[in-house]
């Protein structure tokens, strides 16, 4: 395809750009498969996990002591064993159920406090002061007190769970609300939105990247607190859960089963991060161009 160049009476150069179907003349075209595979986050992350597993297996073989550091294969077989013949699944579901309850309660309370904080000045003062006071306090440090107030059981677990989920979620949500641009706020007001509808339809979606990162941090904090609290509970009452599973197997010197329990914790973490939160991200903040 050649372009026709002409000069007009002023001496200006004019070029005719012909329509073309020539594939070498493209505006956009798909990348070749091998480049897309290397660029895929999933592929690269699986690669990192495989490297870790190989390192683990080699180190386990080298120490050759299942009581100290079982190999990956020994852990997997203990895992399969605990799932099929033991109580791992049951304990796991126990923990997950309580975690979900505590997480949901924490998120609801955090949302209520944050909405109060963006609507009134005293609400802001309350949230900021409470956050500064309580967020550095490890949930597990409250456990003795919780046991005194709520006894040994779900009540105490929920109390420490809410404490560990509430503050990071509220802090991120509040930060997100405050960073919503003046323009978007004025747009929302222009539509006649006020009060809760304004929060729900403008502030929450506009602050969603921060809210989502708060939810992620809250989930991780909650999971840690859950396992840690069960370790203490396990020692005192023996009332189920993944932490108790780990504690019990350690007492029986079933170290591969301890590793299997830890593997379950890690596995759920990876699963929730890469499936649940990732799916939410793809459908929301990434689609909206708020996060890359």
């Amino acid at each position: 395809m050649s372009q026709t160049v002409s000069f007009d009476e002023r001496g200006d150069r004019l070029v005719d750009i012909p329509q073309t179907n020539d594939p070498s003349q493209f505006v956009s075209k798909p990348l070749p498969l091998q480049l897309r595979v290397v660029d895929s986050n999933v592929v690269r992350k699986i690669f990192v996990v495989v490297l870790l597993i190989i390192g683990w297996q080699l180190y386990g073989k080298w120490t050759d002591n299942d009581l100290q550091f079982p190999t990956f294969t020994a852990t997997v077989s203990a895992f399969v064993d605990s799932v099929t013949r033991g109580t791992l699944v049951e304990q796991f579901l126990n923990s997950l159920r309580i975690l979900l309850m505590g997480y949901a309660a924490g998120v609801v309370i955090a949302t209520a406090m944050t909405v109060l904080a963006v609507s009134t000045r005293i609400g802001t003062d309350i949230l900021e002061t409470l956050n500064a006071a309580f967020s550095p306090l490890p949930a597990i440090a409250l456990l003795p007190l919780a046991m005194l107030w709520f006894g040994l059981g779900v009540g105490s677990l929920l109390f420490v769970l809410i404490h560990s989920v509430l503050w990071p979620v509220a802090l991120n949500m509040h930060g997100g609300f405050r960073s919503v641009s003046t323009t978007l706020r004025m747009v929302g007001a222009n539509y006649g939105l006020r009060g809760l509808p304004y929060v729900a339809r403008i502030l929450i979606p506009a602050a969603f990247p921060s809210i989502l990162s708060g939810l992620k941090i809250g989930w991780a904090f909650g999971w840690r607190t859950e396992i840690a609290a069960e370790l203490v509970f396990g020692a005192s009452s023996g009332d189920g859960g993944l932490g108790w599973f780990i504690f019990e197997n350690k007492n029986n010197l079933e170290i591969p089963a301890v590793f299997a329990g830890l593997l379950a914790v890690i596995g759920l973490g990876l699963l929730v991060e890469n499936l649940v939160f990732r799916a939410i991200e793809i459908r929301t903040v990434e689609r909206w161009g708020m996060q890359r």
Binding site: N190, I202, P205
Partner: protein, 267 residues
């Protein structure tokens, strides 16, 4: 509050004042100072006007527009729409802002244009969709109706914001330097497009700008404000044909604002 005589349907009253700004002084405070943005500004906007607030930075023109929008209450004077004092923002005065982030990023172009209609329950969803689509077609973005704002160029985002404002069919469309952040070529085209849209529907427009040329191209009435604090310097009629009569008017406005200086040709 004054009772307003109902306007007969289909009988435009071209001389009746739609918006009255009556001796308005606007002040806003920071933590340590009080800033007076405008001092006793008065003017009237009639139905179908393309009313321009023109002035250099510091003349309070944006603050004045925000007060008309209901975001800010005058410390002195009154702003009335249909004789009713304006107290808070409302979609009967739709705003188009300068910033590109005025579209809700979590909604597509179509959803953005529909959203205020749905919020106000003005129309059923299907009607809102039809009307939104009609205005999206008007601003030439039919192919992008289902695109998210972050995939659009600055000019396209401003077109969506204009479509969103017009689709509500407000009493008055308030535009706060909507083309100021655009490149010069796009800005010129958007001005033409806005005039074409106005030709089609004769909506009432209040437009803030610091560009004398833009004021002369777009406005049928131009309120010239002097700065620190903003006061009315003149109220001028615009020109029909910018290429024929624009030059002298630009020169005249320049002399009003900056007496005794040469024009730089505007921009």
């Amino acid at each position: 509050m004054a009772e307003v005589a109902p306007v007969p349907v289909g009988a435009p009253a071209p001389q009746a004042s739609l918006l009255t700004v009556d001796g308005v002084t606007l002040q806003y405070g920071t933590r340590s100072v009080v800033v007076r943005a405008t001092y006793r500004v008065s003017f009237e906007v009639r139905r179908g006007d393309r009313f321009i607030l023109l002035g250099p930075s510091g003349c309070g023109k944006s603050t004045l527009l925000k007060a008309v929008g209901g975001y800010l209450a005058p410390t002195e004077g009154e702003i009335r729409l249909h004789g009713e004092v304006i107290r808070r923002p409302n979609p009967d005065r739709m705003m188009v802002f300068q910033e590109f982030d005025q579209l809700l990023p979590w909604k597509t172009v179509l959803q953005n244009v529909m959203f205020p209609m749905i919020v106000k329950r003005k129309l059923r969803a299907s009607e809102a969709k039809d009307r939104a689509m009609a205005y999206i077609v008007k601003v030439g973005l039919k192919e992008f109706a289902n695109a998210y704002p972050h995939t659009l160029s600055g000019g396209m985002k401003q077109r969506v914001a204009i479509a969103r404002g017009m689709a509500m069919e407000p009493d008055i469309l308030l535009m706060d330097e909507p083309f100021a952040a655009l490149d010069a070529l796009t800005r010129r085209r958007m001005q033409e497009e806005l005039l074409q849209l106005w030709d089609g529907t004769n909506f009432t427009l209040m437009f803030v700008t610091h560009s004398i040329q833009e004021a002369v191209i777009l406005g049928n009435r131009i309120l010239v404000l002097s700065p620190h604090p903003g006061q009315v310097r003149a109220e001028l009629r615009g020109v029909k044909d910018f290429h024929a009569d624009g030059g002298p008017l630009v020169e005249r406005i320049h002399q009003l604002l900056f007496p005794g200086t040469e024009t730089t040709g505007g921009h």
